[in-house]
Point group: C2
Chain length 218, copies 2
DNA sequence: CTTTATTTTTAGGCTTAACTAAAAATAAAA
DNA sequence: TTTTATTTTTAGTTAAGCCTAAAAATAAAG
């Protein structure tokens, strides 16, 4: 129905709309897709013709309902495949993203219906990201960045903002995964760094780390 | 490493080489891929530059060792995915080919290694076709077309030559699947039609059917 | 309110993988 | 061995999706 390139643009716009509301700028799309702004203009004009985005020259793009639904479905597929790779094929959570980037474009409604069932209709992917339902509805959960919680508070890790292999491997080294309890022992006003407790270990983390870990406060 | 189009051409040439030995003609490739001969010429010239086929003008194409290996690997992936779809997702054997046509192009050595293990390293796909090993080696098994066996002989169904949904659904209706025992009760010299016994049922089959069923004689 | 900087779009090109139409080579028939 | 038919290749287009360079619009400074 839609090309690989079209699906990737819709997905990128969808993610950017969730990061900051309103229209998404040409440059923002270009940056997130590692492509040139001129290429983005070409594509959003094509998507506008197909009524997948609303586009006004120099004003950026916004997904239509139809565009949103398609994007959410691609994301649903991506995340279901990530669950498959981790739960069934025993991949590690830092290895699955690239493969899911390919698998998310496989066209077959029936395949996804059956895959979802096979996996037990999971609600979250291996990185803690919610899986949209078959209608493209994404239920938002209560979660905060670790950087937002205060000294002496406890939280349980429910997801990662960044899911680069580097970051995930850092978390492994520190024994942090989805479900891990974290206590904030100290918070440095100056640079946002923290001292946290994980299990019996206490250690230092940078602001960068704290800003990329989602927690639910206990 | 190789584009989707390149992989599909290599696969088609591989299959054609097994149907009749020697060079594969431009027209034969075009027909099997539902494309035009001029497009085929373009592509085999490109494949020849990449040393995946040997090509002499007006003489057709032949896979090099490298070309054969790549083709066999695509076929390996196709068949492993078909096993996955049938064994794990409970698809029916007439529904999996189109989806496997897409999945066979997913790029990840590790994925295939793990998928193969997950499936218990199967030797055959749901249509009875052998799955090449990781080095691209395809072990040939003893099998004949049902049309080649004689009256009063018995065989067990080990595969299908055609695997169109129409044919597979016909076989279902007749209760024939991989492993089914078939006895040839009569064979019409005139048109190659047969009377066969499957379970307690005896019925007529056309030459077309007999020429598309592989059996091992008992 | 100009001037300058940034963002975005247009114009023109490139590559891949198709296509049609015409030319060239090979195979088959007379 | 000509003539005819078939197969294959070449030449020239097209569409998608990218690119660079230049122009136009918008935003930020002075
Ligand atoms: Mn991912
Ligand atoms: Mn994920
Ligand atoms: Mn198949
Ligand atoms: Mn098969």
């Amino acid at each position: 129905m839609f090309t690989l390139a079209e699906e990737n643009y819709l997905k990128a716009i969808f993610h950017l709309e969730h990061e900051s509301s309103g229209e998404v700028s040409t440059n923002a799309i270009a940056e997130s897709m590692e492509t040139k702004p001129s290429s983005v203009t070409d594509m959003i004009q094509k998507l506008a013709e197909k009524k997948l985005v609303v586009y006004k020259r120099y004003k950026g793009a916004q997904l239509t309902e139809k565009g949103k639904k398609i994007a959410a479905n691609v994301i649903r597929k991506h995340r279901l495949w990530e669950v498959f790779l981790v739960e069934k094929l025993n991949f590690h959570w830092d290895e699955v993203h690239e493969i899911a980037e390919q698998l998310e474009h496989i066209q077959s409604e029936e395949l996804i219906t059956r895959l979802d069932k096979f996996l037990g209709s999971p609600d979250f992917d291996p990185h803690g990201d919610p899986i949209p339902d078959k209608h493209g509805v994404l239920k938002r959960t209560e979660k905060k960045l670790l950087s937002e919680i205060e000294k002496t508070q406890k939280g349980v890790c429910v997801g990662v903002k960044e899911s680069s292999a580097d970051f995930l491997q850092y978390l492994d080294k520190k024994k942090i995964s989805i479900g891990t309890k974290i206590t904030v022992l100290g918070k440095e006003f100056f640079d946002g760094s923290m001292i946290i407790q994980v299990g019996n270990e206490q250690f230092f983390i940078s602001k960068t780390v704290a800003e990329n870990l989602f927690v639910q406060t206990l």
